[in-house]
Symmetry: C2
Subunit: 427 residues, 2 copies
Amino acid sequence: MSAQIPNSDLPRILIIGAGFGGLKLARKLSNKAFQIVLIDRNNYHQFQPLFYQVATAGLAPSAISFPIRKLFHKAKNVHFRVAEALKVDTKAKTLSTDIGDIRYDKLVIATGADTNYYGNEEIKQHSFPMKSTSESLQLRNRILECMELALTEKIEADRSAFMNVAIVGAGPTGVELAGAISEMRTYILPKDYPELDFSEMNIYLLEAGDRILGTMSESASKASHSFLKKMGVQIITNARVTGYKGTSIEMSDLESINTKTLIWSAGVAGNVVAGFDPENILRSRMRIDSHCQVIDQADIYAIGDIAAIEGADHPHGHPQVAQVAMQQADLLAKNFIMTSQGKRAKKFTYQDLGSMATIGRSKAVADLPFLKFSGFFAWIFWLFVHLMNILGVKNKLFIFIEWLWYYLSFDQSLRLVIKQKKSQPED
Amino acid sequence: MSAQIPNSDLPRILIIGAGFGGLKLARKLSNKAFQIVLIDRNNYHQFQPLFYQVATAGLAPSAISFPIRKLFHKAKNVHFRVAEALKVDTKAKTLSTDIGDIRYDKLVIATGADTNYYGNEEIKQHSFPMKSTSESLQLRNRILECMELALTEKIEADRSAFMNVAIVGAGPTGVELAGAISEMRTYILPKDYPELDFSEMNIYLLEAGDRILGTMSESASKASHSFLKKMGVQIITNARVTGYKGTSIEMSDLESINTKTLIWSAGVAGNVVAGFDPENILRSRMRIDSHCQVIDQADIYAIGDIAAIEGADHPHGHPQVAQVAMQQADLLAKNFIMTSQGKRAKKFTYQDLGSMATIGRSKAVADLPFLKFSGFFAWIFWLFVHLMNILGVKNKLFIFIEWLWYYLSFDQSLRLVIKQKKSQPED
């Protein structure tokens, strides 16, 4: 069965995934001489850097989600479909999806990455990931439900297990989450649950490496470490989590930790699409050349978290961050236009614009190319950069009001456990 | 097992349900000489009159939901629990719930009403109700998913079935939904889905009675009928829906209608709590006297949609609207305080403040006690009343911005299909 997509005389570029890379590419190619087919499993673009604020009741899911169709109202050559990529047939040049087969002239894989449990099924089953809006919502529900359950628990140790939160992986996501949950413990939860004693609640940040924010500078590590310690977060480095059945975190050479909420932000694995030879893939990323073309696969490209450039200055591929995806999308759009005009394609060079993490109110760390700083100004800078990068004027406005409100009132007001019923009507 | 609730020397009033009635009662009794235990199955209060705007992508669920605990930060005598009422033991004066038994001195049943399918299991299974935030979200997801599915459909009749929407029941909810969906069809969907032909999309409003808004005045019926007709809604009165298996609505004496989305807003049934004798209940409502006490049950009261006063000026009970619930809550709070001071309780008299329904931009109908009007001023009045009644300053602000934005841009931007994954981690 073939999917219903209008015919066109233009060469068709099929883009899988509307994350930072795929979406930017489609927008850059809007109203150019290509037919663009963009698919994603959701009908909205998700602003990943703020997932942690949804999880901690700071922002509504809708504030960081943007309907994809709205972006292409004026782009007549772009056709968006909600679809799940199943398998590429590189010879027939078609992608099979759950809404039928889609033919392509050029294919761009921008499927991003998902949580990596490194094969531990037990942890996968019992822990909470945070790689989508809906996973962030689930985590919000979980944290609040555990407080309700703590209220029903007579025995202190069991109550404490409901209140405790452990985060595995101290990259930016883990650090930002730990900070936000610590602020909830200080400012909000004691007001909501006057019957609970929040000295019984522990927040653990467990990191396998020897410092937190391992991809950032030493000074950023130190500053964030000291911020988090002051906020009462228990940081354990060189912690190797070996097992978790829902109550107790087992670690090698360390005492186990009791918690009903384990958040897993310890690694990512590329969302590989089926249909490629094993040699096209290395450590769950597509091997691409410096033009973002998949090695030995003419007309197939990969960008962002799913891709790793071979033999570049970054031997294991560029860092899996939004900046790389967006810069590769930019380059690829230009190259598609240039090669269609008979010009030569350019090579990708990554321009590192720096990285940041926020720990709490007035507390952030920033590594810019020529400047590393932390504290209040880093925090203001963080707020500004994130606000500017979110899609949509109304989303910007809503997030700004939420942040201002929280700053002034010390109260996030999205502490809602909204669950969709399991029993939905049948088609 | 008994639920963990602090002991108190004060008499305990247990309130089931934090809707308009239960919540108002608990707030009126805050910091009075009672111990209040308030339970609800959700941790948030839902503003029912705006469910239809969540369903039609006009408002975020969080804008019309308010965390209950936040309302009682300063009320030391109020204990809130997320719990499901299971059964009352009127002799032992305890309520069993899913978090354990709760003892009471006085019990107030404010459980409201849910969708009534009048025993038709087939319709229950295949149609969409709209009596909670999460059901409204499901409906939003459904409408958008059906448009995506229509894109994949070659055959016109099948495509049309995906695009069509039928609403059964033309009370305020049905009328407001029909109007809002019609506006989506006019202003938004054609921009989002340029590949679909929206002349293929039909909106049906089916009503068993002989006029829409049957509980309002004749002039409100006529005005709303003419508004909806101009907006292209197909109104069918005297329509008795007999069956629906997911595709075709069967009606007695009328041709069947093809649609994949059937919204059921044709009636409500009280959420009866188990443990009462059959004579305590009439047509799924608790029989109460003019002091809101359940007939022949000392210390048990019922207010709002679940209750019907015997032998009052309204032979079948007062209308099941927020006003009645709130006025009864007011009276009950006063009576509890007065009787505890040895004074006599007062009887309930309903003061009808009127009713309203909005059909679309600049189009509403209002029946006030001394004035019936429709059109632009009724619409402004509707906006004002709803904005004033929503809980929380920030919610008011957000809703005001959303409405203003939509009014100016003709674009609701919450067209997100956010689903929670079925596979959640286990406890």
